[in-house]
Symmetry: C2
Subunit: 335 residues, 2 copies
């Protein structure tokens, strides 16, 4: 994701890997739509995108008339896109602070301050990813077969990655590893995006249907599981892509380490535990249709919860840029 010529440029992740199309967004409504429709996705990435969305919204203001109301409406529109990942709200809160601080300095200065903050959010995210990836890489052993879910790489973050960042860092350290990519229905972020990123890095991988994870664990073919997070409660419970909870139960049953990797911006200190996390329910069509083709019978109903909650007791450790928290409840120190 880049800021260029007063626009936000990002790869349309819905079209990957078959087509690499760059969206050039020029207003905050475009950014909101891109987040909502998942052209850009991944908790840290939508945090950065929402910050740039606010920059665009402010940039397009002609004057300071009704500034507070207009800014509130921009923020409101970006807040209403997706409910689960806290990074979105965290980034928006940072942008609101900047607004409060600079709102009386004139539109030009305010716009500059907002842009600087969005750049900082992105840069800090990138640095956090790199640090947490180095931290996590210590847990990876030569010869590991690492199962990961959804996409937590450059596409999903501020351009390095969390769970996938750890995998990349371990690979760059020369550890011979293999990645098992859970395809991650309904939107196939594993099959489409993680596989694409791993192929570009030259890291060996095999795609599996989500269904096959348990059987491979049973056969001893999975050394550890690493996933990202959309929101972490103060007690260490984790909201992440639907299917994460199943993998955590399966890893627990097979005594396989289960790691969550996330920057500390993913922690929501306001939530005592995972029960307070709002779970987005998306359109049934994402389940009943694949790439626009209807596969279910006419009129079939489908449930489509986009996330699930993994209780802390199933998590071996949470890996952040500020260290490894083992057991997961130790994250409470930061909350």
């Amino acid at each position: 994701m880049n800021w260029a010529d007063g626009r936000v440029e990002l790869v349309d992740q819905r079209q990957l890997p078959n087509r690499v199309k760059i969206l050039k967004l020029k207003d905050h409504k475009g950014v909101a739509a891109a987040i909502k429709e998942m052209a850009v996705r991944g908790a840290p990435a939508i945090g950065v995108a929402s910050a740039y969305g606010i920059v665009l919204g402010a940039k397009n203001l002609k004057d300071e008339k009704h500034l507070d109301e207009k800014f509130a409406s921009i923020v409101e529109e970006l807040s209403r896109t997706r409910p689960t990942a806290v990074n979105l709200f965290w980034a928006i809160a940072r942008m609101k602070e900047i607004f409060e601080k600079h709102r009386h300095e004139g539109l030009r200065k305010l716009q500059q301050a907002l842009l600087a903050e969005a750049h900082r959010i992105k840069q800090e995210g990138l640095e956090a990813d790199k640090r947490l990836s180095r931290n996590g890489a210590k847990l990876i052993k030569e010869g590991d077969a690492i199962l990961t879910h959804c996409n937590t790489g450059a596409l999903a973050t501020a351009e390095y990655g969390t769970a996938l960042g750890i995998i990349k860092a371990a690979w760059q350290q020369g550890k011979r590893i293999k990645v098992l990519v859970a395809e991650t229905r309904p939107l196939l972020q594993g099959l489409r995006l993680t596989a694409w990123e791993l192929a570009q890095e030259g890291i060996p991988f095999e795609i599996i249907v989500d269904n096959a994870a348990g059987s491979l664990m049973q056969r001893g073919e999975v050394s550890r599981v690493i996933v990202g997070a959309d929101r972490i409660a103060a007690n260490g419970d984790v909201a992440n892509k639907i299917g994460t909870y199943s993998l955590a139960v399966l890893a627990h049953h097979h005594k396989i380490p289960f790691y969550v990797a996330a920057p500390t911006s993913t922690i929501d200190p306001s939530l005592k535990d995972g029960s307070g996390i709002s779970i987005e329910e998306r359109e049934p069509k994402e389940v009943t249709h694949i790439q626009g083709i209807k596969l279910a019978p006419r009129g079939a109903k489908a449930r489509n919860p986009a996330f699930d909650i993994t209780p802390r007791f199933l998590i071996t450790a949470i890996i952040t840029e500020r260290g490894i928290f083992r057991p997961a409840r130790a994250i409470g120190k930061l909350a």
Copy 2:
């Protein structure tokens, strides 16, 4: 599946639910291809299909020259289609017995005897399904939300169903139930076939991605799980569609009853336990492509085990036409 005008007629399940296309097969090679390419699938159904395949093979013989060799070659071709479901080998063994018994009575009589046996296999299968469905329906309670996997209905069997037969029987008894249909990647037999059969019966259902099963169990939205079987070892271990094992572990973790429904023809008394069951590994393309559309990046590798093994200790009971075996190891009485 019907025998009509000297042909085997069956619905091409690869095209459901968008198109109901009837295949009319006139030789054993056509039947073998239909089994291998999964135009017909489901352990009991491929047993019946292979029996009719042998009938077609024998019917197309012009004379009794090299009868043994020719019959052996027909049997061989049908045996090599799919390795996991034992019903295929069980039905073929029955047809071979008929061949041995009638091979000296002239081609015409042999052909008639083989056809009569194939009809018997189908009819016995249908009766077994109905009995096991009545047995299993006793375990279903008013208001149950029943999670099922893959397709175990009329399409998969001798026209009534096993796990789905139980659901139908309970519904016909007036129990208000709801079915949660796991879509069953890679070939989506749940999303495409089970949903289609349930819609025709008017039984309320919701499709979920396989990924969502654990989360729904965690939320208390699943009362019990019922699946079919492709092969049951003498100790009660069960081979079934990939993903079954994950569901069994998840059900165990949440203390939700996990039932396997199968006719006794699915028991393989020659196998001490599940470790001896051959697991079919199918083409990676079934994972990387959906409905012919490539979704994974170029050159991506995929694993595609079609089945997994659920150890008996995760199975609450095995439901057959000869009664309910609880715990699963009690099936040993029949083996």
